[in-house]
Symmetry: C2
Subunit: 201 residues, 2 copies
């Protein structure tokens, strides 16, 4: 089995959402699994001194236009959230807790459910209560999830995941690493596919 594709994303990232809807299918086409890594851009942006796209003068309005257009171009449902950006640490912790307790497949499916809640169903997933409610609808034990995401263990795990991501050079969302080769942005999926197919560009 070839080594898995490493996929880094923030739940508040529109291009991260678009990538999340496509990455498993793309990797599977070339016989690869995907390891999903939730990160917090808020932490990473302290290093890069970057702002969320929508808060950059001139870029902000264009970006919202481009999120929706890019989603249409790739036939992915998308509704711009009315509250944006949001803090995504509860969602990120929840995904780690589900990976720890229910395994990777359930965790990835739950990550997709959280992303769809935010970028399709207009649910603000910044609060623990919304994340837990989405977990309940997803079939998780709401009380166990609530406890789980509040543990020091899961909080520390997310911090370590982010540290590891930064060490691997991750500075944005989506960020994909294929056999050590880094790709930033949903608009690098063509180059990711060429790398998966041919081993290099």
């Amino acid at each position: 089995m070839k080594s898995p594709v490493q996929f880094y994303f923030d739940f508040s990232s529109p291009y991260g959402y678009l990538a999340a809807m496509k990455i498993d299918e793309l990797a599977a086409k070339y016989g690869r699994d995907v390891e999903w890594h939730p990160v917090l851009l808020g932490v990473i942006f302290k290093i890069t001194a970057c702002l969320p796209l929508t808060q950059v003068p001139m870029k902000g309005k264009y970006s919202e236009h481009d999120f929706a257009r890019t989603a249409r171009f790739h036939d992915i449902p998308f509704v711009m959230p009315t509250v944006f950006p949001i803090s995504s640490q509860h969602a990120a912790r929840a995904v780690l807790w589900v990976a720890n307790t229910k395994g990777r497949d359930r965790s990835v499916a739950f990550a997709k459910a959280l992303y769809r809640a935010f970028f399709v169903d207009q649910i603000n997933i910044s609060g623990a209560e919304q994340v837990i409610e989405i977990g309940r609808q997803f079939g998780l034990d709401a009380a166990a999830l609530e406890q789980g995401i509040a543990t020091a263990e899961v909080k520390d795990q997310l911090k370590m995941e982010i540290d590891d991501a930064i060490k691997a050079g991750v500075f944005g969302s989506p960020f994909v690493i294929v056999d050590g080769e880094p790709f930033w942005g949903f608009d690098r999926f063509d180059q990711i596919e060429a790398t998966l197919k041919n081993g290099k560009i």
Copy 2:
């Protein structure tokens, strides 16, 4: 005749260079001319508070890797300049002067020659003297070019071009506008093509 595609670029922009090597061919495929607009990102970045990509922590190293990889992916010759970024006002003024005195086609061909000098032949085109020398090799009257780019008329023309670009929403390079629809980045050429083909996405 359909209205021309508006193409904005900075001579110090690697993705602008890649776009410059492809935009005429892409537009021509759909029966469109291209209007080339040199701009100075240094002026625009004062509004957006952005840094050149290579100066952003973490992004810098990745960006240089991505410039070269993206060039290979699209079969475009590319050598990362040793001095980067550069100030590009002399090159931009020269292109405007050639457009004024020799017409649009010569101006576009000269812009491509300047871009190739910087991103293929490792010539630092920041100084007036290098721009004039490239002009001489291109077949221009070097003395006339030297005089031309030093006139208040051409300097004011570049300022007005940049003002107009900012009013049109241009905040990066390359930036392309098709019938009012804005696209930022060489990686939007797939969406530009779809728009040229179908009128919208």
